[in-house]
Structure formats: C-alpha cells, structure tokens
C-alpha cells in the first residue's frame, strides 16, 4: 500500500509540475498548426461539398498527416526534454521512496502526460471540426474526389486518403492512431529518460530528434527503410493499399515493433536507474 502511495505521489507531483509549467503554452501553437494544416482544408471541402464532417475525422487527418506526425513528437519532446527532473527536491523524494518507486512514479507520470497531450489534440480537433456525431466516414471524405476529380491527389486528399477510409471504420482509424501515437511518444520519451539517467541529457534529445527526422525523410521518399523508424509505423494509412484488401506492411508488425522498442527502452532505463548516481543536482526546480 505504501509502495503504491509513493509511486502515485511521485507521479502526481511530476504531473502537476509539468502541467503548470508555462512551457505547456507550446501545445497551443501546435493546435494552431493543426487547424491550419489539417482542419481548415477539410472544412473548406465541407463548404464546397455541402455536407458536414464527422467530428472525429479531423483527428484521423491529424494522425495521418506526415507533417503533423512530425510536429507532434517534436512538441512533446520539448515538453519533456528535461525529465526526469533531478533537482534538490528529487533527493528528498528518492531518499524517502527509493529509486525503484521513484522511477515507477516517473513512468506513470509519463503515461499521464502523453494521454493529456493526446486528449488535448483530440479535443482541440473535435472543437474546431464543426462536424456532427457519427460512427462512419462522412461523404465529404469518401465521395469528394468522385465529385471533384480534378482535386484528386491534392494535399487535402492526402490528409484522409482512400488507403484509410476504404480499409477501416472511422472509429478503428481513430483508435489505432491514438494507440500508435501513444506508443511512439512513449518510446521517444524513454530515449530522453535513458540519456538523462546516464547523465548525457543533450544526447537524448539529439537521438530522439534524429529518429523523428529520419522517419520523416524515409517516409517522404517512400523508402522501404521507413519501416525501420517509428514514424511510418505510426501512420495508419501507410500500412494499406488504396483499394485492395491487402496490407503493404502488416499493422500487427507495427504494434510488435513498438512493444519491442518499449520493452528494450524499459530494460535499459531500469538498468540506468539501478546504476543512477546523483552527482549533479539542477538548481532550477
């Protein structure tokens, strides 16, 4: 019982510290980008087509847009770049909870932070969607290109391509996007954590940004090596053909990819925590 209280206390404290940090404002900037790059182009289509979107479609578009799948991890990395914090108060916590409980608290905090981040993105996209409730893809998404064939292949069409709406339901697309994005952010965060725990914090951020950038590059080139990086594994539509009921890259492989990467990350972090030494304490809380 005491162990659970310790873990929860560490997680709650870190979370409150994270959510009240003025740096969280950067999420607002991301929301503006999301609106400009994904939601507004879709809304322009609703005007032209004369039918509303489903409220969940903008989120599916955000989670399947190469540009936004690059921006989201970058913003999140900025938000957690100095975690786990090792300040004067950390010594007071660790001395009372022990390293294991402290680290478990840090992991719970991380999951809470990622869920908050994704919920903000999801709610933000719902609020600006001006859409209607429903379980299915709207006609604006599925029939727009047949009515306006000259716009096929445009930037807006790429936001919600036929590879997505022909292959799965809207709820499945949103659900899978959320789960894959959660695993992607968790994996990147574990990289940040690991390098912080072994006292080379700046290298962690560099490594995480390199992984994001390499994913962006290989995805834009449509190189088969894109599946080595997490970005392609996060974008649901990349896994499917346009029309045929066939997968280009089985989606279960992407889940396996993330589960394996997270397991490796957790193992490395656990070893790092066992060996963790508190040489230098940050002065800024």
């Amino acid at each position: 019982m005491n162990k659970i209280r310790c873990i929860w206390s560490v997680a709650r404290t870190e979370y409150l510290r994270w959510i009240t940090n003025p740096r969280i404002i950067i999420v607002g900037v991301l929301l503006v980008f999301m609106k400009t790059l994904a939601v507004t182009p879709l809304l322009e289509r609703t005007v032209k087509f004369g039918e509303k979107l489903n409220i969940l479609e903008p989120f599916a578009a955000i989670g399947n847009s190469g540009m936004l799948v690059m921006l989201m991890p970058c913003v999140f990395l900025i938000l957690i770049s100095d975690y786990p914090k090792m300040t004067g108060s950390t010594l007071f916590f660790v001395g009372r909870t022990g390293k294991t409980n402290w680290f478990l608290g840090q992991l719970i905090f991380l999951i809470m932070a990622i869920l908050t981040f994704l919920v903000i993105v999801l709610l933000g996209s719902i609020l600006v969607s001006k859409g209607e409730m429903g379980m299915n893809w709207s006609n604006t998404v599925t029939k727009y290109e047949s009515r306006f064939p000259n716009e096929a292949g445009s930037f807006t069409s790429q936001l919600l391509p036929s590879n997505l709406y022909n292959q799965m339901s809207l709820l499945s697309a949103v659900g899978q996007t959320l789960i894959l994005m959660l695993m992607y952010l968790f994996m990147l965060s574990l990289i940040i954590y690991f390098f912080k725990l072994i006292h080379i914090q700046s290298f962690g951020l560099f490594a995480a940004i390199f992984i994001v950038a390499a994913g962006v590059m290989t995805c834009s080139l449509k190189s088969p090596s894109m599946w080595v990086f997490p970005m392609a594994n996060t974008i649901v539509w990349l896994h499917y053909e346009e029309v045929l009921s066939k997968q280009v890259f089985p989606i279960w492989c992407s889940y396996t990819y993330f589960i394996t990467a997270i397991a490796v990350g957790l193992t490395l972090n656990t070893i790092a925590v066992i060996r963790l030494q508190f040489y230098n304490i940050e002065l800024v809380e």
Binding site: S9, S89, F92, V94, Q277, I281, L283, E285
Partner: protein, 212 residues
C-alpha cells in the same frame, strides 16, 4: 558506539579521484563537523553516506546496514544536501505534507509543529518560489527533522540565514543532540563548527583527517 562507519572508501569520477582512502567513524549521539575548502570532497562524502552516490570501492555502514547493499538509502536519516529544492508552486506546508505522505509516519500536526520549531508559519500560503534563501533553508531543515530521524546529514545548513536564524538553528541542533541524535554537519564557518561539534574532521583533496 559508532552509528556511521566508512571503510576504505574511494570515489573516482572519470579520471579524477574525488575521495581517497576514507576511513572514518561517527559516534552516536554527537555532532560531528566536516570542514574543508570548496571541492575538497565534503559533499561527495555526504552523498555517499546518504546512498545518492555509489563509491568506486569501500563500504559505508549506517546503523548496522551496508549502504548500497543491504539498503539503497538509510531509513532513519534526515538530509539537507546542497541548496534544498522544493516544488515552487506549493506552499511550505504543502511541500512538507507531500514529502511526509511518502513515508506516512507523521500527521499534519507534527508537520505544523516542525515548521513552528524552525521559525516558519505553517499557515503562510506564500509559494516556496517566493521564499527568501533563509526561509528555504529553514524549510529544508524542517523536512530533514520532521520525521524525527536518528541521524541528520546537513550540508551548509546555515547558508542564507541571518544572525538570529543561525543562533536559533544552533540551539535547535544542540537540543536535537540532547535527544541522543547524531548530526554530521558541514560548514564553512569555523564558529559554527567550534560551537556545535564534538569532533571535527577536515577534508583536503579527497583525503580526510581528524582535527579534534
């Protein structure tokens, strides 16, 4: 009876020897002083005793338990190492309540009493980020003593305190000693050390020697 024993301790970081062949014991129920210039290894020795740094070799026994082997961190130890850090957007009381909740051995009243004891108002709603250095130091001492530990490890506890604050703190530490507690204190002030300590050790370039 010795409550802290350090045997043949070495600490090397990179190619630098931080602590060299440290053999020292600290008797229970006394105040022990540690003096030395900046970078002499005082804080590192304290961190090793607290379990925050694992030495390269040697052993540290606190209250009959080997630090880093039998236990990660000594159970019954209050610490102030370097500048005490707190959650900046919480009041002093809320910070202490949060820390006390981790061990759950004391209640609200004990937290309030400890704050009053060190000269802080538990009802003060001001956030810790607006505290003066002296107030932070007092709060640091409060978190160290609130659970009534057997051992106190204090690294420069008088930093930022005014004359009256130092006097009050000294009186408090002497009364704490009278309760049979052990205090290991590190200070730059020769007066603090001479007034408070039963034994004094000096550190120089990672080597320790008994002065008094």
């Amino acid at each position: 009876m010795d409550i802290i024993t350090v045997n043949n301790l070495y600490l090397t970081l990179g190619k630098t020897d931080i602590l060299k062949e440290i053999n020292v014991s600290f008797e229970e129920g006394k105040i022990h002083g540690l003096i030395g210039r900046n970078g002499s290894g005082k804080t590192m020795l304290m961190k090793c005793i607290c379990g925050f740094i694992k030495p390269t070799s040697g052993e540290i026994i606190v209250d009959n338990k080997r630090v880093g082997k039998d236990i990660d961190f000594p159970d019954d130890m209050g610490i102030i190492i370097e500048t005490p850090g707190f959650i900046p957007y919480y009041s002093g009381y809320k910070n202490l309540k949060l820390l006390a909740g981790l061990k759950n051995t004391i209640g609200k009243q004990q937290i309030r009493n400890t704050m009053i004891q060190v000269g802080l108002d538990p009802d003060l709603r001001r956030h810790v980020r607006k505290y003066s250095l002296g107030m932070r130091q007092r709060l640091g001492l409060a978190q160290a003593i609130m659970e009534d530990p057997k051992i106190l490890i204090l690294d420069e506890p008088f930093n930022g305190l005014d004359k009256d604050g130092v006097k009050e703190m000294r009186e408090y530490l002497l009364s704490y000693k009278k309760q049979g507690k052990t205090i290991l204190i590190c200070s730059h002030s020769a007066e603090d050390i001479s007034v408070l300590c039963d034994s004094v050790h000096e550190m120089d370039k990672g080597v320790i020697q008994v002065i008094n």
